[in-house]
């Protein structure tokens, strides 16, 4: 029958069609999955780039501090260089509280009529705290009078808190825990929007690193402190490694405060130093969950922690003790110290004391005890260094003990006190700086330069010793905003989304109920992320990372050319891809997949050979108007830009943003030793010429640094290829193959 025949042929057509359809579907699916995998790879190396550079910056900061510490210990008190930097070491000022209150007094500060920001009255109410939130959302700035007032109240409150906050989830309260915020106000606002502001019913723990890198660090602090004042039993703050004025010098918080508060910024910073030192170091929930910023080590003991006088550690970056490679957790600086010790023509060993004379009634007593030690000074440099450290730590503990105590303990318990101080310092450093690792054991964290890497066995041991079940920490940026490790016993929580660049990562916070099972909520701030199509998001982050990487490569030009020449004995000017990759890694030490990055970094290659001289032209990085400065000096400056700026800010003792020409010269002498470079007076004059100094005899730090900002002449990644890359911020991890 016709009907049947046509049905059959219809059926055939349909089945053929079905086959083609399915084939098409499979084809598209295959291609899609390939694209996703390639994107994941790009995402990974982009991440590596940012992270290696970030951590090496932290390491550089610690090295710098160690170097300065060494200088401090080896100058006579009258030395002018010493005066330049001594103030950052004044950790043990013995001002009475009354003097400090006078210094921080806000009462004379008038608030002008035109001020349109919030007015605060104390005691603070929740309406005012919320009002502050709104004001910051609307880009208002709080007047310095209120800032100082609020900070003073916070200081008073924090001094009453123990080293370890202890809270409980009784009454079915869920506790919200947030990780690093790093001055990113949008993220905090987003969290409060999604989760509600802190209240009696809604306790919060903020796990450190509130400041640096982002542009609204002070606003974040003010919000957190205001809620702390309103709900002192429901808001808990842990100190992070960035709650540290030395770190702030490099990573932007100091600059932010001085820019926003030109007149009173210095006082605000000083008060914040005290506040940071009074921040608790950890929080324990229901005696079972430990929340702290960095992590633990194999020597961390929570029963020891309460006894520490945490406010003595204004910065966690104490000068290191005698070099000891084998003990975990002691930060070690090698090259710089070696160099300075070996080339000690400039810095003669003197019988110096690292502590400037304190004020107040303890003055005479202190001199006497220190002079007791002076008679026993030996000639060996290392011993002397060790002694001055002991004296310093002894002095530190002395500040808080009675004179009688000190007299009796000075000689006999000399070593005990210094050991105690050393242990305490290491304890705090570990808490704030450590990172987890996947293998067992506990080793010094050489990437960061402080704290340690601790393994799953250390976690197990720690938890069982303390009868706990979970460690929640932050300190490391994670793509999804959080990450479990150590058999889900350690949770890393990071709350600053888009940390490296727009689209780089999500942020997350955790809710913990009486069952103590962490419930993670993720988010990603900025409408910009949503507006960017998925395709543009990964491309942007990648471009950003590559730009940073190219600058780093350019800044190491001489060393790279040297390394290239080693692989090119015939001096042909060409290198194979393999050799190029090996040479670059040998100089940069960033452990990056150079071969994979090759096509992004080098556009021209003849038969896989790289013309390496030409390559630097291709990198096309240029500074502004710096032709009159000698090439190698310029390169050193590029490479150590952050360090240079940090030192300037240290030297700028009144935090004005300006340093005198004379101090400028002295700084360069300092830098020339640290950076191991020759720098003549003529060089310095040439540098000074670079700056458009509007003021006689003083130099604007920002302008100076601006002159050395590197700019990318061509935009490298405007290639069709990258424009087609598609991804969303919801891209799931590729492990745990979802396709199965």
């Amino acid at each position: 029958m016709g009907c049947g025949v046509s049905k059959s042929s219809q059926f055939n057509r349909n089945s053929r069609k079905a086959v083609t359809t399915i084939r098409a579907a499979i084809l598209i699916q295959r291609w899609y999955r390939q694209y996703v995998a390639r994107t994941e790879m790009r995402r990974r190396y982009t991440w590596h780039i940012f992270q290696s550079i970030e951590y090496s910056g932290e390491q550089a900061q610690i090295k710098l501090y160690n170097f300065l510490g060494y200088l401090m210990d080896n100058f006579t008190p009258s030395s002018s260089e010493r005066n330049l930097i001594s103030h950052i070491f004044r950790e043990h000022e013995v001002c009475l509280d009354a003097e400090w209150e006078r210094y921080f007094c806000y009462k004379n500060i008038e608030v002008p009529e035109v001020y349109s920001g919030p007015h605060l009255t104390f005691p603070l109410t929740v309406e005012q705290a919320v009002g502050l939130l709104e004001a910051f959302r609307n880009k208002k700035q709080l007047h310095s009078r209120y800032v100082l007032q609020l900070l003073l109240e916070t200081w008073k409150l924090l001094r009453m808190f123990p080293n370890i906050n202890r809270i409980s989830t009784c009454q079915s309260k869920e506790i919200t825990i947030c990780g690093d915020l790093h001055g990113q106000l949008e993220d905090l606002l987003l969290i409060f929007y999604k989760n509600g502001v802190p209240s009696l019913e809604r306790p919060y723990v903020f796990n450190g690193d509130f400041v640096d890198r982002g542009k609204d660090s002070i606003e974040i602090l003010l919000i957190l402190f205001s809620f702390l004042l309103v709900y002192p039993c429901d808001v808990y703050l842990n100190r992070g490694n960035h709650e540290d004025h030395l770190i702030n010098l490099r990573y932007g918080f100091t600059k932010e405060v001085l820019t926003k508060y030109k007149i009173h910024g210095k006082r605000i910073l000083k008060l914040l130093q005290k506040i940071f030192s009074w921040l608790p170091l950890a929080t324990v929930i229901d005696q079972k969950v430990l929340v702290l910023h960095g992590g633990i080590s194999d020597t961390t003991d929570l029963s020891v922690l309460p006894r520490v006088d945490r406010h003595n550690y204004i910065s966690a970056l104490r000068p290191p003790k005698k070099r000891n490679n084998s003990s975990a957790g002691v930060s070690v600086d090698t090259d710089t110290e070696d160099y300075v010790w070996n080339n000690s023509r400039i810095y003669q060993r003197r019988a110096s004391f690292s502590c400037p004379k304190p004020l107040g009634p303890r003055d005479c007593f202190q001199n006497r005890s220190l002079q007791d030690f002076s008679g026993r000074i030996k000639v060996k440099m290392e011993d002397e260094l060790e002694r001055s450290r002991r004296r310093e730590s002894l002095f530190q503990t002395a500040v808080n003990r009675s004179e009688k105590d000190l007299l009796s303990t000075s000689t006999s318990t000399d070593s005990i006190s210094s050991d105690n101080a050393k242990e305490e310092w290491r304890l705090i450093l570990d808490l704030l700086w450590s990172d987890p690792m996947n293998q067992d054991g506990c080793v010094p964290n050489e990437v960061r330069g402080g704290g340690c890497y601790w393994g799953p066995d250390v976690t197990e041991d720690f938890l069982s010793r303390h009868n706990m079940q979970l460690i929640i920490r932050s300190h490391e940026c994670k793509q999804e905003g959080y990450e479990f490790c150590h058999n889900r016993k350690v949770l890393t929580l990071f709350s600053a989304s888009n940390y490296y660049d727009v689209g780089s990562n999500r942020g997350a916070y955790v809710k913990l109920g009486p069952d103590l099972v962490p419930y993670v909520i993720q988010y990603q701030a900025t409408s910009l992320t949503r507006e960017l199509t998925a395709r543009q998001s990964i491309g942007r982050t990648e471009r950003s990372a590559l730009k940073v990487l190219r600058e780093q490569l350019f800044a190491h030009k001489s060393d790279l050319i040297c390394a290239f020449k080693k692989f090119d004995p015939g001096n042909t000017g060409f290198l194979s891809l393999n050799n190029w990759a090996s040479a670059v890694e040998s100089v940069m030490h960033l452990n990056l997949p150079w071969r994979t990055l090759f096509s992004q970094l080098v556009s021209k290659s003849n038969n896989g050979m790289v013309d390496y001289h030409d390559w630097f032209n291709e990198l096309a990085i240029k500074g502004t108007n710096t032709d009159h400065i000698e090439q190698s000096l310029l390169e050193t400056l590029y490479r150590h830009r952050s360090t240079v700026e940090t030192i300037f800010r240290i030297v700028d003792t009144d935090n004005s943003g300006f340093i005198t020409v004379e101090d400028f010269r002295k700084t360069w002498k300092l830098l020339s030793v640290y950076l191991k470079m020759e720098i003549t007076d003529e060089d310095i004059s040439n540098l000074a010429v670079t700056i458009d100094s509007n003021h006689d005899g003083s130099i604007d730090i920002d302008e100076f640094m601006e002159a050395f900002r590197l700019t990318d002449k061509k935009s490298r990644l405007e290639r069709g290829r990258s424009m087609f890359m598609v991804t969303t911020s919801d891209l799931t991890k590729m492990e745990g193959d979802p396709n199965v």
Partner: protein, 188 residues
Amino acid sequence: MAPKKKEEPKPAAPAAPKPPEPERPKTPEFDPSSVTLEFTPEQIEDFKDAFQLFDRTPTNEMKITYGQCGDLIRALGQNPTNAEIMHVLGKPKPEDMQNKMLDFDQFLPIHQHICKAKNRGTFEDFVEGLRVFDKEGNGTVMGAELRHVLATLGEKMREDEVEQLMQNQEDANGCINYEAFVKYIMAS
């Protein structure tokens, strides 16, 4: 007349040879030792770099999980089906995907085998496939229909994956110009 009933072809095993089809049960298991490696040393270095990016072992042991194997092969420029991946991995169980590891030497023959398969799919294959959905013969397909197909046929994609792929591809009427779409997909 009774219509002759033709055996209905199973969606998963059509007779057409072109795109790599999931293997039928009778196919012999994959034997890595039977594969001759034809990669150049340069290529192998490239693969090592990428392998290391995917290596998440504590001490950088140069090992990846079974689950990552497919991703790595794709990241290196091939586009096998999931079925092919399962085949070269020796049809592992779901829990093996996370637990079993491959080192670099085990990976190479697997990768070589996939590289040798000559069925990556050309532009024309794609377009022909999509033309099936072109009801009006005007070079466009309905986005909704395509989404449905991708999520329900072949090696199904999840909704969020479909969304990611199709993001911003549809015009105001929900239609996609499929030649442009294919070019876009193949441009990665």
